[in-house]
Amino acid sequence: MGNTPAGRRARGSLESEVMGLLWGRSEPLTAADVQSAIGGDLAYNTVQTILIRLHEKNLVNRRKAGRGHVYWPVEDAATTAAKRMRAALADPVDRHAVLQQFAASLDEDDAATLRRLLQP
């Protein structure tokens, strides 16, 4: 069903994945860290290029560390986005109109069922 052939990624999705990773970790990462976390057949140079592009777009900060750089996300735009997102979703009724939440809230019974389902 996926319209992305296996092994290839949609345009922009590698950048998203790198941004996701940088946000997901609490400490700054080197290009090598990013490469090993994302894994697959990703070349070091590709990771380097993406990080430089993201830095040029002012989406990530970097500072020298050893022979290379470490990278971490710029927070300004994300703080603003959070404020606006929070406001847009402030009214619970509005949230119903929002498309696609990745996951719905659970009650304790549902949570227990989920934990059981995930037990091997």
């Binding site: 998203s16 735009a77 986005a81 997102m85 979703l89 949230r95 939440q101 069922t113």
Partner: protein, 293 residues
């Protein structure tokens, strides 16, 4: 004007009653499209029935009564005045609900779009609540919180992105908006709206599982995101009850569903019934209106 005009008002009921059964079977994409199409037809035909019923009030209006060439002939005969009045009220109520529904949807989407400028199709919001939404637009983009990015590991994040991209690629917001409008016009269709909201999530889950090539990983990502919402703190989600997540995870742990077009026979018959009854009612109405004028 008798059975045919009332029939479309009731034909939403069998759709409502079978939607849940259908949702548990077959491929989510097929069923979601089928249910959306039939809910749309059911809503339009029931609204048209209400319009026809309400129009029979016209022969009671003083200016029109004065013009009446045949005072003995009342516009569509077997519709009692109170029924026509109730139809007019339902119609007005439906219109108010529809306008409110459309306004809410467009304003929420506009505000979410304004949250930030997407870079490579992504806006990150630095917020601990584990949230991710697909924001429709041209092109659409993802709006995710730092909370959900920190919650998931690299592989699970890939599931999340694939899931949200599936929503955008298949334009799920259109199905959701159409069933929302249908449910606004005809509240009997509210369960169908809920079912379609669930089905587009299932659909995106199946897509994500195909993209990452791992159903179990997909199930884990969905479950983990849902479990993070348990207890105090911001509730991630909405638009559906928690039980739906349990069903999604169950479905992902099970083998992928087989496409069976036969499942849509019921909704198709219903659509045919709605269209037939609407055509008959309209023809009867036109014939009576001609005679009356």
């Amino acid at each position: 004007m008798n059975v045919a005009i009332y029939l479309p008002l009731l034909l939403a009921l069998p759709l409502t009653l079978t939607a849940g059964w259908l949702a548990a079977r077959g491929t989510p994409g097929l069923i979601a499209r089928g249910l959306t199409g039939s809910a749309f037809v059911a809503a339009v035909s029931s609204t048209w029935s209400l319009v026809l019923l309400a129009l029979t009030l016209l022969d009671d209006l003083p200016p029109l009564s004065a013009l009446d060439d045949h005072p003995t002939l009342e516009l569509p005969e077997p519709v009692p005045g109170p029924v026509a009045l109730i139809a007019a009220l339902l119609l007005a109520w439906g219109a108010v609900r529809l306008v409110r529904d459309i306004h809410l949807r467009t304003s929420t989407h506009r505000r979410l779009r304004a949250a930030g400028t997407p870079q490579d199709g992504l806006v990150v919001a630095d917020w601990s609540a584990p949230l991710a939404v697909a924001v429709p637009g041209r092109p659409g983009h993802l709006l995710v919180t730092s909370g959900i990015l920190r919650l998931l590991d690299t592989d699970e994040r890939r599931v999340l992105f694939a899931h949200e991209h599936a929503h955008l690629a298949h334009r799920h917001h259109r199905l959701v908006a159409l069933t929302g409008a249908a449910a606004a016009l005809n509240p009997l269709l509210i369960p169908v709206r809920t079912t379609v909201a669930y089905l587009v999530e299932r659909w995106a889950d199946e897509d994500a599982a195909a993209v990452v090539g791992d159903r179990e990983l997909t199930a884990k990502a969905v479950a983990r995101a849902a479990l993070a919402t348990v207890g105090p703190g911001p509730k991630a989600a909405l638009g559906m009850h928690g039980g739906a997540v349990v069903n999604r995870v169950r479905a992902l742990i099970a083998p992928s569903p087989e496409p069976r077009r036969g499942r849509l026979l019921g909704p198709s018959l219903l659509v045919a019934g709605c269209l037939g009854a609407t055509a008959v009612a309209t023809a009867e109405f036109v014939a009576l209106a001609r005679a009356w004028l």
